[in-house]
Every structure is written in structure tokens, then in C-alpha cells.
Symmetry: C2
Subunit: 116 residues, 2 copies
Amino acid sequence: MLIGELAERTGASARALRHYEDRGLLVPARDVNGYRVYAESDILRVAQIKAMIAAGLGTDTIRRYIDCARTGDQGVSLEMCPDLRAELDALATRLDAQQNAIRKTRERLCVLTSDH
Amino acid sequence: MLIGELAERTGASARALRHYEDRGLLVPARDVNGYRVYAESDILRVAQIKAMIAAGLGTDTIRRYIDCARTGDQGVSLEMCPDLRAELDALATRLDAQQNAIRKTRERLCVLTSDH
DNA sequence: ATAAGGGTTCACGCCAACGTGAAGGTCAAG
DNA sequence: CTTGACCTTCACGTTGGCGTGAACCCTTAT
């Protein structure tokens, strides 16, 4: 599958897909003409990447996640994972804090508007 | 109170405080020598601003929030507020989505690490 | 007088995830 | 052979919230 099709089927732009490749998140094969050739499994991978990006994770972290998962499949060492776990925990904590902050803000606004 | 003291008492950098002023979030008085002079109430205001920034709100939205709150104090019109409310709701929704995304990511990682 | 430690206004730098041309190959169809 | 719809690689633009000098003024202590 070429980049246009993958873009269409994942909802990511072609530019984004090339960007993911730059960041090492996606490594498509190349056709003789130089075109990127993607596998079916890349659809799932792109979905995961998009979700992690949306969750506020950086591409560095995502790449480490992917590497960790790959070595996990092969039953190889998972030593790099603990700090990855820590990073995910930290992000979750930050998101909690953000939710609290916005909840307080809304409460203050509700008091002012006498709403609810 | 001068900018250095406010910075110290709020944890925000002096640069950040000037930035907030550029964005219209903070309007300190000026001494004869041109120095910014802040009121005690600005400490609370800066705390609110920091919280809203941390929550992912942009300075435009925050300024509208402040204006809305000010006019609210004086019992004046609150017509500008509905879209502000909508914006806060949208942000809250986005944060929910992010939490879901990171939760799924952590679950996938847990499966791989056979943890829990 | 001068050094130290405040303050001021520009104005460029940064980071991250792409958007957006530019300039040019590839390939099937008319 | 040419149009058109794909693809390729640069490489600069964008958005936001500041960081980080630069160059300069104000005030107090030595």
C-alpha cells in the first residue's frame, strides 16, 4: 500500500506519515521507484501513534514504546521499559492535575454566572 | 510590590509576568521611574493564570475569562461567556480523551510486561 | 565614583508536530 | 506525447509560552 492509501485509511496526512518515519516511528519498505510501501499492520501502528500523540506523548517516548513492544514480542530484554512506565505515570499525573485545574476554573465561572 | 517580589511569591518568572501583561492578563500600575507596581490581589490572579495555563488554556481564552469575571463582579452583562463555557467544555472533553488514550497505552504496556 | 542588584524595552531563540509550497520523477490513460 | 494523479526530497512557516541575552536606567552601599 502506498502512502496516499495509508493516509486515507488512517486519517493521518501523508506529511504526518513521513514525519513519523523521520522520527523512526514507522519504517516502510521502498519500491524500485522509491515509493514508500506500507504493510497492513502499519494501519494499526499509525492508529496507536495517533492515540499516543493525542495523549500528549512525544515522538521520542513513542519510539521507545515501540522498541520496547517489539523486543517484548520476541521475548527479549525489557530493561528499557521502567523509565517508560515512569514517563507514562508522570503524564497521567499531569493530566489529572490539568483536569483539576479546569474543573476549578469552571466552578469559579459557574459561581459568577450563577449557573447550576 | 515590584516584579521581582511578585515573581518570587508566585513562582512565575519575571519574564512570564511581563508576558502575561503583553497578553493583557495582568495590568500593573507604574511607578514614577517606570517600574511595574503590583497589588496583593495580583498574587491570586497569577495563581489562577498559572493554573489555567497548566490546564491547557491559551492566553486569549484566559483574558476572556478574566474580562468575563470582572464584568461579573460589577453585575454587568455576561454575554461573552457562553462561548467561553463551550471552550472550557471542549478542553475538558479533550482531556478526557487524552486520559483514555494514555490508559489504553499503559494497558498495552502492562500486557507486554506481564505486569499486574 | 563605582560596583551591585534591582528595574526597563526590544528582539531573536526554542521546541514539537506537522502545514505548505517548490521542483521534479513515475506511471497509466487518452 | 502530453495530461493528470500519484509519488519523491528539501526546506521554510506556524503556534504558544516563555528563555535568554543585549543595551540601558535607578537606587543604595562602599
